[in-house]
Amino acid sequence: MPVIRAQKINFSYAEKAVIEEVSFVVDREQMTAIIGPNGSGKTTLLKLINGSLLPDSGEMHVGEKNTFRYARKEIARKVAIVPQETPAVFPFFVEEIVLMGRFPHLGNYRFENKEDYKIVQEAMEKTDTLDFARRRFNELSAGERQRVLIARALAQKPEVLLLDESTAFLDLKHQLRFLTLLKQLNRDDGLAIVFVTHDINLAAQNADKIILLYCGKIYAIGNPAEVISARNMKEVYEVDVLVDAHPQNASPRMTLLT
């Protein structure tokens, strides 16, 4: 039973069509990458999955229900999103930020209990953020902030984790750690993962399925070997590339030709 089912989704901002006739499924055991040029509708697609945008036509199912049937809190318990950046006007402690991930599980007048703090603790351990739990969020570097936001998403205990360019600010060590963590969550906890990235090799190496978006339509969808081809890259990105096999695991590897 797929955890996300999109059928012929159409969506437009004002008059401009952003997503057209998009259909795909995501299974629980899958890591799905969404790639595509700037403005191809990647972030919009993520927002359609978590119900903060509703499709103009077509159906988006998360779990058993259509996204428009969910209350906000209810869908936030199923789908968590890690945004690219978040404004930090007021100084919050890192711990407080992560604790906000428990919001969809709590009533208005209920305080967090031991269980909530345990979940937060775990999320921070996994993302390697415990060291700066008592520091202010707005004093952290972009990479550290990104890890805190991932911890907050994990604290939501979702079934689906959406990531919008989360690796962009991470250094190599944390990028690797982060990908290992994603795979662990995916394999051990059955968390379905959908990530948007500009790093095509990263997608090719780590995703089970890749969705290549072009002008709001799905240009190609399938396993990395099917999607990452010199022809697709030329058509969509208008660049010449060489695609060969990665020396370690034989996934497709792309090299830009100049």
Partner: protein, 324 residues
């Protein structure tokens, strides 16, 4: 915090155009606390029927205005927002003045109701003019909008002042500058009731405020039902502010100073920020009002003068530090 509030109240009880020494005051308070409310001297009369209600009222007003500051700062993600700067107090005052001039004030709750309408219209205007901007409203734009709205309301208020007969003029002018001396006991009761109910309801939204401060998008992603939460918060806050403004006039800057100081001390978590701001706001206004009563004895200043004299420089300091 509570301790600070009580100490301030005590000091404020003792000071005034008639000085009362601390010993006598303590004896009197002891008597009241043990349930004997017989008033034996003129001093006791002053304490009980003049100063005590006034201090209570100052506390309520200070708390409400500070809460208003906290909520608007969160909703607009701007630490300089406050009911006064944004023109919401002005809108309430205009509503109240229309009530006084037109005679609608003679109906029960007529004036507070009109003040509430004024406040709501201001909030509405604020969001319309701000153009439904999705992200954080940039500081400059927001403050500018506030200034413009304030200028418009001031003009309207002046218009009504100029057509009103001169007997009422002095009292209205005094009230406009923030006057805590005229509220009756029952009015104080209404204000206190609004404060308590408003606080309890706002406190239930504290966690949502934390999320809204992270950006509306984030709040939405984490499960805040913005379409319901935002109007609810705006109406609730406008209501308590307009009640207070219709009784006490325009008292500015508390809503900026108090939440800012509390954030420095306690951090930004609204579950702490709301109660501490309410308490400190109460203390702050009691103090300001005491100063206003004492400084020109036997005459009195409107308390709004004192808060503006402290608040305006503080505001400039905040603006400068943020490097706008």
């Amino acid at each position: 915090m509570l301790f600070l509030f009580f100490v301030l109240c005590f000091v404020s009880l003792a000071l005034g155009s008639v000085h009362i020494d601390a010993g006598a005051l303590l004896r009197f308070l002891g008597k009241v606390l043990t349930g004997k409310v017989s008033i034996e001297s003129q001093e006791e009369l002053i304490i009980f029927s003049v100063r005590l209600p006034r201090i209570l009222f100052a506390g309520v007003v200070g708390a409400v205005l500070s809460l208003g500051g906290v909520v608007f700062q969160a909703l607009l993600r701007n630490p300089l927002a406050d009911p006064y700067i944004l023109g919401i107090s002005g809108g309430s005052a205009l509503g109240a003045i229309i009530g006084i001039v037109s005679g609608a004030g003679s109906f029960y709750l007529g004036i507070p109701l009109l003040a509430f309408c004024g406040a709501l219209i201001t909030v509405f205007l604020l969001f319309i003019v701000a153009g439904g901007a999705k992200g954080a409203l940039t500081d400059n734009t927001l403050l500018l909008i506030g200034v413009v709205i304030n200028a418009f309301f001031s003009a309207a208020i002046l218009f009504f002042l100029s057509i009103v007969d001169s007997l009422e003029l002095h009292s209205i002018t005094f009230w406009l500058m923030g006057d805590l001396s005229r509220a009756s006991l029952s009015e104080i009761g209404v204000a206190a009731f609004c404060l308590i109910v408003g606080f309890i309801l706002l406190y239930g939204q504290a966690r949502k405020l934390n999320l809204i401060v992270q950006g509306e998008e984030t709040a939405l992603h984490l499960g805040v039902d913005l379409e319901r939460t935002k109007p609810w918060l705006l109406v609730l806050t406008s209501l308590i502010i307009s009640v207070v403004v219709s009784l006490a006039g325009i008292i500015g800057f508390i809503g900026i100073i108090v939440p800012h100081m509390m954030r420095l001390i306690f951090g930004s978590d609204h579950r702490l920020l709301l109660p501490t701001s309410a308490l400190f706001g109460a203390s702050f206004l009691v103090l300001a009002d005491t100063v206003a009563r004492v400084i020109l004895t036997p005459a009195e200043l409107p308390v709004g003068v004192i808060t503006a004299l402290c608040g305006a420089p503080y505001f400039v300091f905040l603006l400068k530090r943020k490097g706008l």
